[in-house]
Every structure is written in C-alpha cells, then in structure tokens.
C-alpha cells in the first residue's frame, strides 16, 4: 500500500510539472499546444541517453535535457508566431504526430518501439536515488522549483508581456512589445521545464518508450490544465491531482466490474469535461465566468 502511494505521489509530481508548464503557455500566452508530451519525451530520451553514455548526475542530465528541449521547441514556436487559436492547435497536432514517429523510428537514440532500457538511477551528489521515498523527495523538490520559477516569471514584467499578448496581440504590438521574441521565449521556457519532468520520469522508471509520449498524454495534460483552471497558479496542480487520483478511486469502488474500470474512467473524464465547460468554463480554480487564455483580438 505504501509503495502504491509513493508511486502515485511521484507520478503526481511529474505530471504536475507538465501541467504547470503547459498552463504557462496555454493560460498566459494563449498558445494552445497539444504537443506538450513531445517535450516530456525529448526530456526523457535526452536524460536517458545522457545517463547511459555520460553521467547520471541530475545536475548534468536535467540541464542537458532542458537545453535540448528548448532548442527543439523552436519548431513549435515557429507556427505559434504565425497562427493563432485553432490553427495553431492543428499545427501542434502535426508536431505531436511527427514527434511520435521520430521517437519510434530513431532507433539509435530512442531504441525504437522497444524503448530505452537499463537507465541508471538518478545521481545526486554521488548518491544513487533508488529509494522511492528519496525519489519522491527529488521529484517534489523539482516540482517546487518549477512552481516557484514559473510563478515568479508570471508576476514579473515578462508575465505581463505574455498576458498582454494573450488579451490583445495588436495592442501589444502597438505599445512596443516584440511579440515574436516574447512568444518564442515562453515556448522555450515551457518546453525546457517540461523536460525536467521527462528527465525525472526516465530516472524513475528506468525504462521509457514512446507509449508515454503519445497524443493521449498531451490531451490528458491539456485536460488537467482546463479542468483545474487555465491561467491560474493552483489550477494545473488541482487538475493533476484530480485526474491522477480518480483512477485509484474507481478501482476502490468494489461494486464496479474490475474489467470495465478503464472505460468507466474514460466516461467519467469525458462527462466531467463537458459539465465543467458548461458550468465552470474557467475550471475548478478559475472564476466561474471567465474564459482565460481565450484570444480575442487578432
């Protein structure tokens, strides 16, 4: 039971990092990306490759993963500068599909469909983090750092720049904001921080394959952000908790047929999304009426 809870808590930390970083661009820059799992994946594969071939030190592997993800995110930033709203969603969907193909075909780096096995445990100051409690502490530390970093950024002038662009891109231009630079930076930051989750995941599982970085993951992350409350600090964390704890909750309901739990979960998610969008479009944490992150004027 304890092992189960520790595992759940660690995965919640990792997913919360992803939801927070997705909310950073979705809720504040108005960039609705459904390719977030790709940067999770890039972080995971990079950290795994680095750990296997160079060093498993988190102080090296995580920064390298962040750097690579930030560079690759320029591929996502490019369409974000040209198109908005639903057009960008379509463009990011393309990137998601492309990314999964690369993950499953570039065998020398990603191990193809089989994935990467035998990833060494994370190394913190020469100490191997194998104990689940210790790893949870590491994941929680990363979560806190990411949360503080994103919150500080959003409260700064950079955060105001982002929100200004989200609310009216043309007015932001008219007041001297270099929208292209601001958007590119936000996508790079978000992707780099998502790679932290990827690196943690690779170290934690010891094995990764493309299954974890598919469209399904991207959609689930987006659901976490929207259900929790787009454009709020606590929203993505609440959304993560809810969507991660629900499956566990269902499996404890003994009256449900165990073989059907999966489909019951899907029905519950779907229903929750529909009801939420009708009655609380701003999410659980967001205020009732507002549609944050909605681009209005082009």
């Amino acid at each position: 039971m304890l092992a189960y809870l520790l595992n759940l808590a660690t995965l919640i930390c990792i997913n919360a990092v992803l939801a927070i970083t997705l909310n950073f661009i979705m809720g504040y820059a108005g960039i609705f990306s459904i390719a977030h799992a790709i940067f999770f994946g890039v972080g995971a594969y990079t950290a795994a490759y680095f750990a296997l071939h160079a060093s498993a030190s988190v102080f090296l592997a995580i920064p390298v993963a962040m750097l690579i993800a930030a560079l690759i995110s320029l591929v996502l930033a490019l369409p974000a500068l040209r198109v908005r709203g639903e057009y960008f969603v379509a463009a990011s969907l393309g990137l998601q599909v492309l990314g999964v193909t690369v993950f499953s075909e570039w065998k020398s780096i990603t191990g193809g469909l089989g994935g990467v096995i035998g990833i060494p445990p994370a190394d913190v100051f020469g100490y191997d983090v194998v104990d689940p409690v210790a790893f949870l502490a590491l994941a929680a530390t990363c979560l806190v750092i990411v949360l503080i970093a994103t919150t500080a950024l959003l409260r700064s002038s950079f955060g105001r720049n982002l929100k200004a662009i989200r609310d009216s891109e043309s007015a932001a231009h008219a007041f001297g904001k270099n929208v292209a630079v601001i958007k590119t930076l936000s996508v790079m930051l978000s992707s780099a921080l998502a790679a932290v989750a990827g690196a943690l995941y690779a170290f934690y599982m010891g094995f990764i394959n493309v299954e974890s970085f598919t469209l399904e993951t991207s959609v689930l992350l987006m659901a976490m952000v929207i259900i929790g409350g787009t454009g709020t600090v606590a929203g993505p964390i609440v959304g993560t908790l809810l969507l991660m704890l629900l499956p566990g909750l269902f499996s404890y309901m003994s009256f449900l047929p165990q073989t059907e739990i999966g489909s019951i979960q899907q029905i519950a998610y779907g229903l929750a999304m529909v009801l939420l969008m009708i009655y609380r479009p701003g999410g659980i944490v967001g205020s009732g009426t507002r549609a944050a992150g909605k681009g209005k004027t082009a």
Binding site: R160, A174, V179, K296
Partner: protein, 265 residues
Amino acid sequence: MSALHASIAAHDAPPPDHDVLLSIRHLRKSFGGLKVTDDVSLDLRAGIVTTLVGPNGAGKTTLFNQITGHLQPDAGEILWQGRSLLGKKHFQIARLGLARSFQDLRLFDQMTVLENVLTVMEPVSWLWQPGGRNGRSERLDRVHTILERTGLADKADTRAVDLAYAERKFLSMARILAADARIWLLDEPASGLDRSSYERFLELLRSEVQKGLTVCIIEHNLDIVIGISDRIAFLDQGRLLADGLPAQVLNDPHLAAIYFGDQAP
C-alpha cells in the same frame, strides 16, 4: 472655440517652430479593387492637433494602420523626422515614440487596471526590465500619477473587463499616457462619453498638447473637432480632399455636402 485653437487659428500657417514630425507622402493602399488610401500626403507637425474628418469608410483608421506598421502601404512614403518608417515592424515604430489608441479600445481585458498601464512602461521583451528595484518603484509611481490623472486611482486592482464604459475609455487614455510617446494617434477617443467625461478627456489632452505632444485624432463629433483641432484633414473614399485650418475646412460647402449629405445646413 478653445484658447489653444484660437491662438493657432490667428495665424495662417503653423508657426515655423512646429517642425514636421511625421510626413506622409503620396501614400497608396488598395484592398483588391478598393482604393482605401489614394495618393494621400499629410504632415503632422510637432505640438499640433490634426483631426482626420470624413465619412465612415473614408480610410481614416486604415491610414493609422499604415503609419503604425499594422498595414504595409502599396506605394508612397512615411517619414518620421525625415527617416522612412516603411519596412519597420510595428513594435519598432512604437518604440520610436508613436502611440495609438483603438476604436474598439483593445484593452488587456484580463489584466488589472494597474497592470494595463504598467506593462506599457515595460518595453523590454526579455525576462527582466533594466533599472532594478529603483526602476520598478519609479514606474509604479508613474502608474499611480497616471491613474490619478485619468480618475482610475480607486480602480487600480479591477480587471479591465469589469470596468464601466467611460472607465474603459479612460484606461485606454491612461495606457497611451504611459507610453511616453511624442505622437498620439487617437481613434475616436471621445465617442460615447457624456459631457463631464468628455470635458475631462479634453482637459487631459490639452495639458499634454501644451507640453509639446503631437496628436492626430479621428473624430466625428464636430463640437469636439472644433474644440481641439489646430488643423483638419478631410478624407473621403481614400482621398485627402482638404488639409487646412479648421475654419477653412469646415466652412467649405463642398466638404459639408460630402460629410452631411445633400441636406447639409
């Protein structure tokens, strides 16, 4: 008639110290077969209020959009203190000292009043602004001064979307004040304001003009036009039909016929 206007109207031409800040030369722009700007030449002189008058669809806002870089003209030239603005990105043009307001305001709706004004003072797109802590407190002081002047001091923490109509108009003015620009392009800033709000708006504008601000304003209300204009430029169907002192332009029966239709007084 305003004192400001009267003092300028006493001369036939603008005094020589009013240098040309922005010069539009033979500007042309078409949308498909529609000529929205048709060979327009216009000078905006320092410290002068130029009003763009003309029926709806005359191409007034389109002219603004070309000056600010939101639209690229097909032909012609726009000079800022003698240097061409063509090909510059709109944020670069804004940073030269041009600020504009929008007819539909385009406030940063989900941000607070304070944030709306503050973000305009933070031009650096990088992760932090220069000047450190001192710079930040100076900016905040300026924000509060501007909010006092625009009557929004007690609304500092209200989201822009929750403001009343006149307050939104004044927030638009507060934002443009914060830009610290040399020239303002105002797109119907006073439309829909009641008498007292309108007087406050006029007072604000006059005090800035007295400090040397250059203004180009699109306005339909003739009382306002007469109250603030030093010069009037009359546009119709993309063409500049007249550019002169208010008395000359407004008393032209031909222009009045275009503006009011044939039943003009």
